[in-house]
């Protein structure tokens, strides 16, 4: 997707080539769309049926387990369902939606999620891009077998935070940040309860720690694909390292940076859960009750499914609008 490139073929057909074919595993992209395959109506409808048959299992699964529950969610959002007081699901009209706008926890949660998203994506993009540029520098500058292996190992180390399951990472950070027995306080000689005193900062740092490597590796591919001849020409013109960074490197990777930031933002907004649940738990008070956590708490702590469903619908609407806009702009840029 982001890295998929459209290549114009001589026959005038568009063939998309995945990044994999560009990083050393070149395979012949099929030119046979122009080959003499008979294009009769019967042939076309047969291909149509085959295509449908291949995709049918997936469409059934997604339809049954995603589309149906989401429709059911819509129904629940117009209902009152509190399993603790009554097992009955009764019609509530727009009550749950009215509460979306009158309940201050909803507005607060949206604000918290927005802060979290902006801060963590900003840190991830800045640090990730900086590290990617440094790593590309090291990898391209490595001479000899030994230093090349060292450069690879250095890059591999950054995989770890990304590979660590979010819950495990969250608990590791909790121990690191613990007021009495944590490493950070031991080094500083303080007893700061970080998760209580600086809850938002804490979850932003933890999320950035986990997702910065993702940005790093995406940006690394972008930096490495810049033509070396551009730098050689700049050097002949006497441009220094700083000048090269701002005139060649950053402008070249800017489009990838923007797309990556947008995808990260949608992801951060919709999927942040484990990290917050296992560290601050949304607190203190509701200082870090991000939106997915609010939905979950409303449903499974307060056992108010109707209200939770309306919140969930709101979350879906938000991600649909942002995600849709993102896809639309990306598609328009690609064509």
């Amino acid at each position: 997707m982001a890295a998929e490139r459209e290549v114009r073929r001589t026959q005038g057909h568009r063939v998309s080539v995945p990044a994999s074919t560009l990083d050393g595993e070149a395979r012949s992209a099929s030119p046979s769309r122009g080959a003499p395959v008979r294009r009769t109506a019967a042939h076309a409808s047969r291909r149509n049926r085959i295509g449908l048959a291949f995709t049918l299992p997936a469409l059934i699964v997604v339809g049954a387990i995603l589309a149906y529950p989401l429709l059911y969610l819509l129904y629940l959002s117009f209902s009152t369902y509190r399993p603790l007081s009554s097992a009955e699901i009764s019609w509530a009209g727009l009550d749950n939606y009215v509460r979306l706008f009158t309940d201050s926890t909803v507005a607060n949660s949206l604000a918290v999620t927005l802060q979290f998203t902006l801060a963590s994506v900003l840190i991830e993009i800045v640090l990730g891009t900086a590290c990617a540029i440094l790593l590309a520098n090291v990898m391209l500058g490595a001479r000899g077998r030994g230093s090349r292996i060292a450069a690879r190992l250095l890059g591999s180390a950054y995989i770890i935070p990304f590979a660590v399951p979010a819950v495990a990472g969250a608990y590791a950070w909790r121990m690191v940040l613990d007021a009495q027995f944590g490493a950070v306080n031991a080094v500083l000689g303080t007893h700061t309860p970080w998760l209580v005193s600086y809850p938002m900062l804490s979850i932003v740092v933890i999320d950035s720690w986990k997702m910065m490597p993702f940005v790093l590796f995406v940006m690394l591919a972008a930096v490495m694909s810049i033509e070396p001849s551009q730098y050689e020409a700049a050097e002949l013109d006497g441009a220094g390292a700083v000048r090269q960074l701002f005139s060649i490197t950053l402008p070249s990777v800017l489009p990838v940076m923007v797309i990556t930031a947008a995808f990260r933002a949608v992801d951060a907004f919709t999927k942040v859960f484990d990290t917050v649940f296992a560290t601050t738990g949304g607190g203190p008070g509701d200082a870090t009750r991000v939106f997915p956590l609010l939905i979950w708490r409303t449903a499974f702590t307060h056992l108010d499914f109707g209200n939770a469903s309306a919140q969930a619908i709101a979350a879906l609407a938000i991600s649909l609008v942002f995600g849709g806009a993102l896809l639309f702009t990306q598609r328009r840029n690609a064509s």
Binding site: E4, T55, F291
Partner: protein, 278 residues
């Protein structure tokens, strides 16, 4: 004083390497702290000088995981969830992805776009209706419910990640095989799958991680110790009265190691997935 160009360049590379090493070490510290804490005796964990190397190291916390916190069954449950997620996602998703890549049909563009949108569904929004449905079906407290939730959120990702790989398989090979009398399904399993192996490995890795690391579905659906995977078992070490820090850290290590080892072993595919899938 002037420094030669080559020397300046050398200096730049070394400085970059130094900065990156420092950042990498800092980023590894939380997990190292977790591992270190897990092998400290309780007196070393709850000490005024937690940085100091304890007098003795112990694997008691790891032993407790299996005697007090049913980690043996949890490990099996996590494995079952991850493996079934992999099989279902890759078979069903692979077939669909191939259909989309090779046999575009009327409405397939729309279906693909909808699958893309499905990737942006908030898992916490899906878990609410799915909980009520699973309750009606009697599938709460079973790994099936968790597998269903994880797989449906993973499937769109697998379809998108595999599509470019199927598109690069030369069409002539498939056409030749079809002329030889192989059915499209046979072509897919016998010819295309082996050729798209890098893509399949990428899908396998990400599907495994999705199943192995998921917390939301098990913590919502499962209350029975015997069916819990590792992720939600970890939450049990934090009770209202006490947090079993030693066991929690040991459990975190047990949960983390398989994921990290797998990511290192399949590093190429991990990085490729980052570039094509997101």
């Amino acid at each position: 004083m002037t420094i030669s160009y080559a020397a300046r360049k050398r200096l730049g590379v070394n400085a970059s390497a130094l900065v990156l090493t420092v950042v990498a070490v800092v980023m590894l510290l939380p997990m190292l702290w977790m591992a270190f804490t897990s092998i400290k005796p309780d007196s070393g964990i709850f000490s005024k000088t937690p940085l100091r190397w304890p007098e003795s190291l112990t694997f008691d916390h790891y032993a407790n995981l299996f005697t007090q916190f049913h980690f043996g069954t949890s490990f099996v449950n996590s494995t079952v969830i991850a493996v079934v997620t992999v099989v279902v996602s890759v078979v069903v998703g692979g077939l669909a992805s191939y259909g989309f890549a090779r046999y575009p049909f009327r409405g397939s563009g729309l279906a693909l776009a909808l699958l893309m949108v499905a990737r942006m569904v908030t898992p916490a929004a899906l878990v609410v209706p799915l909980y009520v449905i699973m309750q009606t079906l009697g599938l709460l407290n079973s790994v099936t419910g968790v597998i269903v939730g994880v797989t449906v959120l993973n499937l769109p990702f697998v379809i998108w990640i595999l599509k470019p790989f199927f598109e690069t398989v030369p069409r002539e090979i498939e056409e030749a095989a079809e002329l030889d009398g192989l059915s499209p399904v046979a072509v897919f399993f016998r010819i295309v799958l082996p050729l798209a192996r890098p893509g399949i490995m990428t899908a396998v890795l990400y599907s495994f991680l999705a199943g192995w690391t998921d917390l939301l579905f098990p913590m919502t659906f499962i209350t029975d110790d015997e069916v819990m995977p590792l992720t939600s078992s970890l939450l049990q070490m934090q009770t209202g009265y006490k947090i079993y820090w030693g066991e929690l850290m040991a459990g975190g290590v047990v949960l983390t190691l398989p994921a990290v080892i797998l990511c290192f072993a399949l590093q190429r595919y991990l990085l490729r997935g980052l570039r094509t899938g997101y």
